[in-house]
């Protein structure tokens, strides 16, 4: 039995030229992808070498590479973390709503509506953020400063345009909402029906069922999904470039004032078209830093998600 089923594959490679060419092309395409990815790293490094080896006063800002990139990295991380903190609870709640609360007939349609948020180009989010959201947030920021101004995050003076770090965090949160909620939804829909029905049969309310059966099962998937969202938020460019009124504020925790650190990606987009010479190399070096950060975050996220999928076969 086993010998007959394994025999045909053993005879298959009769080595027709067409087969060899086709298989070779397919394999070549796969290897090409690895080469491209390696190329991204190699070319970025080779173009940032001049900036890495330059003396401190040649770098824009005259403070050396570290003091140029440092505040940018801080701004990138800060905006992405705000986005993550806002988006994750919201996305999990939306995923729960679509999977367990919405009427069955509507659920697929509602999921599609949330996914539409992912289809909107990032530059359009920039337009929306600067013209619609930012002005509407100013009264709210004033209120925050008056009532919670003693917290360093909400220290004044409040920006009169609303183009602040907190606004960016909120816009980025909207932008990563679809990916986090899509992955959470996928994980929640994989929860074994036996677990949920057993919980309900024991008299649990719907929330207790979610707490006991869904959350423990889906936790690592949600973590992985939100880390993918974090990776997305770290690299987001145009929305930040348009909305954030960045300045050389250095490292500051004030989220609603008009002095904000810029993010790496937005800084590249803003400076690159007008840059020449070593300034270009400096920007590419900052891009390399962004590449490394997102690569680490994404690899960690994929590892978490894939580790979960190994376990999910057990249902």
């Amino acid at each position: 039995m086993t010998s007959t089923t394994s025999a045909p594959p053993a005879q298959q490679p009769k080595s027709r030229p067409g087969d060899r060419i086709f298989a070779g092309t397919a394999k070549g395409a796969g290897i090409l992808i690895l080469v491209i990815l390696a190329g991204v790293a190699v070319f970025l490094i080779s173009e940032s070498v001049p900036a890495l080896t330059a003396s401190a006063d040649e770098i824009p800002g005259d403070g050396g590479l570290a003091s140029y990139i440092g505040p940018l990295i801080f701004g990138t991380l800060l905006s992405a973390v705000i986005a993550l903190l806002v988006a994750t609870p919201l996305a999990v709640a939306i995923a729960l709503f679509i999977t367990f609360y919405a009427p069955r007939k509507l659920a697929a349609g509602l999921g599609y509506v949330v996914d539409l948020l992912a289809a909107i180009p990032s530059i359009v989010y920039g337009f929306w953020g600067i013209f619609w959201l930012a002005p509407r947030l100013v009264p709210f920021y004033r209120w925050l400063e008056e009532n919670l101004g003693f917290i360093p995050f909400f220290a004044g003076p409040v920006s009169s345009t609303g183009r602040t770090m907190l606004t960016i965090g909120l816009v980025l949160a909207v932008m990563i909402l679809p990916i986090v909620s899509a992955i959470s939804r996928e994980v929640f829909s994989q929860v074994p029906t036996l677990h949920t029905e057993a919980a309900l049969a024991l008299g649990a309310t719907r929330w207790e069922m979610i707490k006991m059966a869904v959350i423990p099962y889906g936790k690592s998937g949600v973590i992985g999904g939100s880390m993918l969202g974090l990776g997305r938020a770290l690299g987001e460019t145009m929305a930040v470039a348009i909305i954030l009124s960045g300045s050389a504020a250095g490292i500051t925790w004030a989220l609603i004032s008009s002095a904000n650190p810029q993010t790496i990606a937005a800084n590249i987009a803003l400076q690159f078209p007008e840059s020449t010479g070593l300034a270009v190399n400096t920007l590419i070096a900052s891009g390399l830093a962004l590449f490394v950060i997102t690569l680490l975050v994404n690899m960690l996220a994929r590892w978490v998600v894939n580790r979960r999928s190994d376990f999910s076969g057990a249902n």
Partner: protein
């Protein structure tokens, strides 16, 4: 239903008060939460009229008061467990409502402001020699179409062949590492893809180079992983029986793939490619640093700067010129056209998968 005869008789007596959860709305009529929210709305209206009227505050007050009211009422009449359940229901529904605010306001805003210049001139004129009103985005639209077409021509063969390798040929470490790095590639920030294309072409052409093809290369880095992922999923769905039937007839493997596997999966592949195009057509950042912007027509992707719709929108907004309103109107119309392109491609993708789905499912 139950196997034991003694349990049911004891069950209803002891657990009925706390087991209202199972029956849903046994203890509270289904209209009660709505009534509570109605009362909350009236209260919020009163607060709004007494202080200062504000539609946003009115909605927030209504939701907060309604949620609190539902929770407290349920806690008094149904007990804490049911009350927490109702609280979570309210929170989860409000979360969905919050997510709809940006979507609705964004689409409304873009349509309202974009309709201003949504005219024939916008689609037929370029910006050459235009100062003030008038002018259009014909050059940018053509640039976007040319660069997207080139991107598709680069990405689809590479992506499709990689997917075929992963599904039909791949084994062992190479397959695993390709799969892993495709995942990693999905997360590359778009601006980094642009920097890569720039760094690559700088080595060949020298610093300061701007070409349409550079943009296509940058976008391909973003598009290839999307094509591979979707094509891989679709090819995996092709039943093995079809392949085995072809092998049994003595068809070589490569002809089996070309004549049996791909035709079976063609609808799914087309859907995936359409969605991948939709993903890259709105990308701005890589084009901003590789293709640049121009006010004139340029159909040659291998010679000099080109205009593209997203970059056009960006520059019209951020560098509007002396009477700013004309350029800002053009920027909004470009944003509207961009959204229409992306949404249109999404709809087309859905139509393809729906119209041709029966063939693949067989």
């Amino acid at each position: 239903m139950s196997t034991s005869t003694q349990q049911p008789s004891a069950g209803p007596d002891t657990s009925a008060p706390s087991q209202g959860a199972l029956g849903g709305h046994e203890k509270q009529a289904p209209w009660v939460p709505w009534a509570v929210f109605g009362a909350a709305a009236v209260l919020a209206l009163a607060i709004g009229l007494l202080t200062s009227w504000n539609i946003v505050l009115f909605v927030i007050y209504t939701v907060v008061l309604g949620t609190l009211g539902t929770y407290l009422l349920s806690r008094v009449t149904e007990g804490p467990r049911k009350a927490v359940d109702r609280l979570v229901t309210c929170l989860v529904v409000s979360a969905f409502g919050i997510a709809m605010v940006p979507l609705v306001s964004l689409v409304y805003e873009v349509i309202r402001r974009g309709a201003e210049r949504f005219d024939a001139e916008f689609f037929s004129a370029s910006l050459q020699g235009v100062i003030g009103p008038g002018g259009g985005a014909y050059h940018a639209l053509m640039g976007t179409l040319i660069i997207t077409l080139l991107t598709t021509l680069i990405s689809v063969p590479i992506g499709l062949m990689t997917a075929i390798y992963l599904v039909e040929y791949g084994t062992g470490r190479l397959k695993r590492s390709i799969t892993f790095f495709i995942d990693v590639m999905t997360g590359i920030p778009s601006i980094v893809a642009g920097l890569f294309a720039y760094a690559l072409f700088v080595l060949i052409f020298g610093p300061g180079v701007r070409l349409g093809i550079m943009g296509a290369v940058a976008l391909s880095v973003l598009m290839i992983p999307v094509v591979v992922r979707s094509a891989e999923e679709v090819l995996k769905l092709v039943p093995n029986e079809l392949r085995e039937a072809a092998y049994a007839l003595g068809v070589p493997k490569w002809r089996t793939i070309l004549k049996v596997v791909i035709p079976t999966a063609i609808a799914g592949l087309a859907t995936g490619v359409t969605l991948a195009i939709a993903r890259v057509i709105g990308e701005t950042a890589p084009l901003l640093i590789t293709v640049g912007i121009t006010n004139a027509l340029n159909f040659n992707a291998f010679d000099g700067r080109m205009a593209t719709l997203p970059v056009y929108a960006y520059y019209q907004l951020t560098q509007p010129g002396v009477p700013p309103q004309d350029a800002i109107d053009r920027a909004w119309t470009a944003a509207l056209v961009l959204i229409m392109l992306v949404m249109g491609l999404n709809v087309v993708a859905r139509l393809i998968s729906r119209l041709f789905a029966p063939k693949t499912s067989r």
